[in-house]
């Protein structure tokens, strides 16, 4: 497939990004660069200085709502991408409505409890959706531990062991690897959807 063919396939696709921190901001930017037509981004937070060690924001954006700042950055890359923003805390009651039109949803929260809530809500209320989860990327090095695996409609990217702590912060390289790995899985789903569906039915 040429890049023109890829862009043509992606322009009618919609991807939801749940959380616009280290995983969400970097994953959204990667998807925007390859031409995913519509991105639905949701986060309630504002950009603070400590985010800049890994999140796709700039110093002048400190204090700005993350969804507004991320939309601004995506527009600078490709003004043709449609970015729908939800400045809202995602919870059981609003997830289905917000992401109903997405072909794939990217889980990009930082807290384990939030990850659990999203995975359970999607499994219960929209089990037919593909969900790409980021799990375990704190610290540095250990490239060989990072992997991707599939269970049903859920794809898990990360090392599944490196939990965030004061001694093991989430920082740009490893978070960026996992965020881009998530974007890579999204592309695989969007570009080879029919094959995956067949696999699903087996």
């Amino acid at each position: 497939m040429t890049f023109e063919q890829i862009k043509e396939k992606l322009k009618d696709k919609c991807v939801g990004i749940a959380g616009c921190g280290g995983l969400g901001s970097n994953c959204a930017v990667a998807l925007a660069r390859v031409g995913v037509g519509t991105l639905i981004i949701a986060d309630f937070d504002v950009v603070v200085e400590s985010n800049l060690n890994r999140q796709y924001y700039f110093h002048f954006q400190i204090g700005k709502k993350k969804v507004a700042a991320l939309k601004e950055n995506i527009m600078l890359i490709d003004p043709g991408i449609k970015v729908i923003t939800y400045d809202i805390k995602l919870k059981k009651s609003n997830i289905k409505k917000i992401f109903a039109d997405c072909d794939v949803i990217v889980e990009a929260f930082d807290l384990a409890g939030q990850k659990k809530m999203l995975i359970e809500t999607i499994s219960e209320k929209m089990a037919e959706k593909y969900l790409v989860v980021g799990l375990g990327m704190a610290g540095w090095g250990k490239n060989d531990l990072i992997h991707c695996r599939r269970t049903g409609n859920i794809f898990i990217c990360g090392d599944e062991v490196s939990e965030l702590s004061p001694e093991l912060p989430a920082i740009a390289p490893r978070v960026g690897i996992v965020a881009n790995m998530q974007a890579n899985v999204v592309l695989e789903i969007l570009l080879t959807n029919e094959e995956l569906r067949k696999k699903n039915q087996e």
Binding site: G113, A127, L135
Partner: protein, 67 residues
Amino acid sequence: MKIVLNNNTETVEQEDLTIRELLKWKNFTFRMLVIKINGKVISKNDYDNARIHEGDDVVVLHLISGG
């Protein structure tokens, strides 16, 4: 009986198993879990009631913070 746990076939001596027994047997001591039996999410309150039977597909996902 045989069950599928996280995509791997496992043989269990008992004829059925609660989630609590499964976690103990596998020594899964994680705090934050998503558990599914044949695609159905099992809430923490049901770990003693929900039973796993022959051929069931069980997912135990251990959630950790960072992102």
